[in-house]
């Protein structure tokens, strides 16, 4: 292996193994990034991507490693200080910025870190921050508190902060997760610019379209093992998805053609300025209607209005033929609607509370005994019933919900809402943070529910998800529903072309 040193690499790892509590989070993984390259690290949640990042940044020490090399220098191990000094930087998904501090201070924060007391050079800091932003071709108000910025702008601040530290290798963890398409495009432009400057960038993302657009090579990891390293040229999304998951993404339509039941929900001319305009939407009993579009298209905002969280400025809604105008989310729930939020961690579940309480929260009224108090027996019955019906894998109902996997948590959310016996179920990105295996389980449940006559609105980012699970797919863009597709007659490729065009 002598003479293996290659100046052209920013990072080389060989045979890295990391064990947590007897489980191999990384098993003999090789990983390399060339200088100035945009490289994609692809894999499902929990496949070992973040463990790998933490090894490169010195947060974790691997159990064994045949080779660790940073910018051509062989190392025994990487420490956080060393990683920083050599120019390795990570932009975490939560960005790790400081909302109440100014943009300039956030960008130049690291120069203030340290225990040796020294004055803060506010003016110099602003100059340096402005210079870095100029390098990125972005202008931001340097005095504004970070919290006044959009997520996309904060992302830019995080990148600028990495560059302030002379970063030569930047890991970006799901950087586009909450950006709109145009914001994503701008971010990708910045990434290209950096790459042209010789900065190596590792893009961690599960949005395959983006990955293929930006990266020159992709490393796929599955269950802590390396699947392989591939050039993106000639790679398709389907093939990459297959590599990541190990499953063949079957190109088949589950939805059977059938007569639709009576109309459950109808909206006409629904408008809320700056969010959505003139929405006509009809959902029948037993029907799954997919609503696709890019982030920022107004889908979630529409769902919020249907759920009574916000009020439409004009337009009408009808539920089972009767005028429907919910004053609050409680009102909507009482009238038979249910909403699975896109943000399961913050809004869908109460992470501190038990599985039982999370499942029972929406139907307390039905669990009362003769004295008007909550009956523990009825609560137990409710939980055990739904656990069985939906095949939820739990320990004890009293355990905290946070002990469950993403998929099982989402099933508890479903149980919570199904217990209310809704007429219309709105699913907003129901598979975010849910593993592929569990996704299939959730959609099986969704299909069964539809077969039992429930009307379902499925909002999703993933075109394939809508295509394989909905009876009708509506395409929303810039607050309007611009097209309707029949999944039985449209191909995924056609659909994607329409949406990402």
């Amino acid at each position: 292996m002598a003479g293996d040193v290659n100046e052209g690499y920013a990072l080389r790892l060989k045979g890295v193994t990391k064990v947590f509590g007897g489980i191999k989070a990384l098993d003999n993984v090789d990983f390399d990034v060339r200088a100035g390259e945009v490289h994609c690290l692809a894999g499902e949640n929990g496949c070992g991507k973040s463990t790998l990042i933490k090894i490169v940044t010195g947060v974790y020490r691997p159990e064994t490693a045949d080779l660790i090399e940073l910018f051509g220098e062989k190392l025994e191990a990487i420490t956080p200080v060393m990683a920083r000094a050599k120019g390795v930087s990570v932009i975490w998904q939560d960005l790790a910025l400081f909302p109440n501090m100014s943009v300039a201070e956030n960008i130049a924060f690291d120069e203030m870190v340290g225990l040796r007391p020294k004055g803060v050079d506010h003016a110099g800091m602003k100059t340096r921050a402005a210079a870095v932003l100029a390098r990125l071709g972005v202008t931001l108000d340097l005095n504004a508190p970070l919290e006044s910025l959009l997520i996309a702008q904060r992302q830019v601040v995080a990148i600028a902060r990495a560059l302030m530290n002379d970063a030569r290798l930047i890991f970006m963890d799901e950087p586009t997760a909450s950006l709109t398409q145009s914001e994503t495009d701008r971010l990708l432009d910045i990434v290209r610019k950096l790459s042209a400057d010789g900065v190596a960038i590792v893009f961690v993302s599960h949005r395959l379209a983006e990955v293929l657009e930006i990266a020159s090579r992709v490393t796929a990891v599955r269950d802590g093992r390396l699947v392989g390293v591939y050039p993106t040229k000639g790679m398709t999304q389907a093939r990459l998805g297959e590599l990541m998951t190990g499953h063949l993404l079957e190109d088949k339509v589950v939805a059977a053609s059938k007569d639709s039941g009576p109309i459950v929900f109808q909206a006409s001319g629904l408008t809320r300025p700056k969010q959505f305009t003139d929405i006509d939407l009809t959902i029948h009993a037993g029907e799954v209607v997919g609503l696709v579009g890019l982030i920022g298209a107004g889908r979630t905002e529409l769902a919020h209005t249907i759920m009574g969280m916000t009020q439409a400025a004009s337009g009408t809604m009808q539920l089972q033929g009767k005028p429907y105008r919910p004053a609050s989310i409680r009102d909507a729930i009482a009238q038979g609607l249910a909403y699975v939020s896109e943000d399961r961690l913050q809004l869908g579940l109460l992470q501190k509370q038990s599985i039982a309480d999370n499942a029972a929260i929406a139907v307390l009224d039905t669990l009362l005994d003769g004295t008007g108090l909550i009956s523990p027996a009825k609560k137990d019955d409710l939980i055990t019933g739904w656990v069985k019906k939906l095949g939820i894998k739990i320990g004890k109902p009293e355990n905290a919900i946070s002990t469950l996997s993403g998929g099982n948590q989402q099933k508890v959310v479903l149980a919570k809402w199904l217990a209310t016996q809704p007429k219309l179920l709105i699913l907003d990105s129901p598979t975010v943070g849910v593993d592929v295996g569990a996704r299939a389980g959730i959609f099986r449940i969704v299909r069964e529910l539809a077969d039992q006559g429930l009307a379902i609105l499925l909002i999703t980012d993933e075109v394939t998800e809508a295509m394989f699970n909905a009876d009708r797919v509506l395409h929303m863009a810039q607050g309007r529903i611009i097209a309707a597709h029949d999944p039985r007659t449209t191909s995924v490729a056609q659909m994607e072309a329409a949406i990402y065009a």
């Binding site: 989310i329 009482a334 501190k352 509370q353």
Partner: protein, 343 residues
Amino acid sequence: MTSFFEKGRAFFGRETFGLLLLMAAMVLAFSLASPKFLGLANLSSMGFQAPLLGLLTIAMLAPMISGGFNLAVIYTANLSGLTFAWVLLQFGGPEAGMGAILLGTVAALIVGATAGAVMGLVIAYVGAHPILVSLAMMIFLRGLGEFLTKGGDISGFPESIAVLGHGTLLGIPVPMILFGLVALVWHILLRRSRHGFAVYMVGSNIRAAEYSGLNTKRTLVAIYALSGLVCAIAGILMLSRFNSVRVGHGEALLLITVLAIFLGGIDPFGGHGKVAPVILSVLILQVLSSGLNLIGANQHLATAVWGLFLVAVMIVRSERFQESVQSFTVALHHMSKPAGGKS
């Protein structure tokens, strides 16, 4: 048998077992140190003293489970007591009859609940921090009370009132019975009622609770109103115990209630906590104070010991401490085994 034990644990909470042991150890130590400790006189004086702190602690409990605070408990109690006293004085002071007492009780409860509800409204609808809101309410109520009483005492009540603070029923101090009843109601309210359920949910994540269809604003208003109601009961008890009302009575108990609550293992960020361990904590604090008193120390030493005691309990409960205990026992285990005995 195990299921019985588990049920007990579920009822009392995880912390209770340790607290019970602690209580037993303290009772043992004090009864060895002073023969009077288990004497009837001491037990009964403890039974008369503990309920006041107990009631105020219960008033603090629900706001804390909801992720908030009620720093106005003492002055809400004072002001309710004042209302009670005022009604009694209107009906002739010492000559006031049963009707006046009832009317006064109702008026006191209304004042307490209103003070609480105002806080709840500001917290729920303005979204201001409960510490700040209740602090402002505390300053306001204290000022109002001082304004009305000109800083003086109010006394001259019918003798029948004394039963509440000094009487016994079947040998049990009446205040203890009152406290027991309120605690029981509070326990049922928190663990079994829809409102109680909502309190826990609001305490752990108010937005998710709202998204799940709970009326979080109404819950918050109700929590503080109920807290004020219990304060009013405490205020009436205080009036009867001291046979007078004075704004500032019981002032020193404010932070002690928080101390008792933390001792009882309530999650300081809200969302978790049970009534039983908190009551046990109140009793432990009473045992400590009475025991120290018997062996010649004064109330101030008891206050200091309460503070140190809370620090000690929090240290023992901390993850850091438990980890080091664990690694210590593992090390002991390794040492006790001869080398090469690894399996």
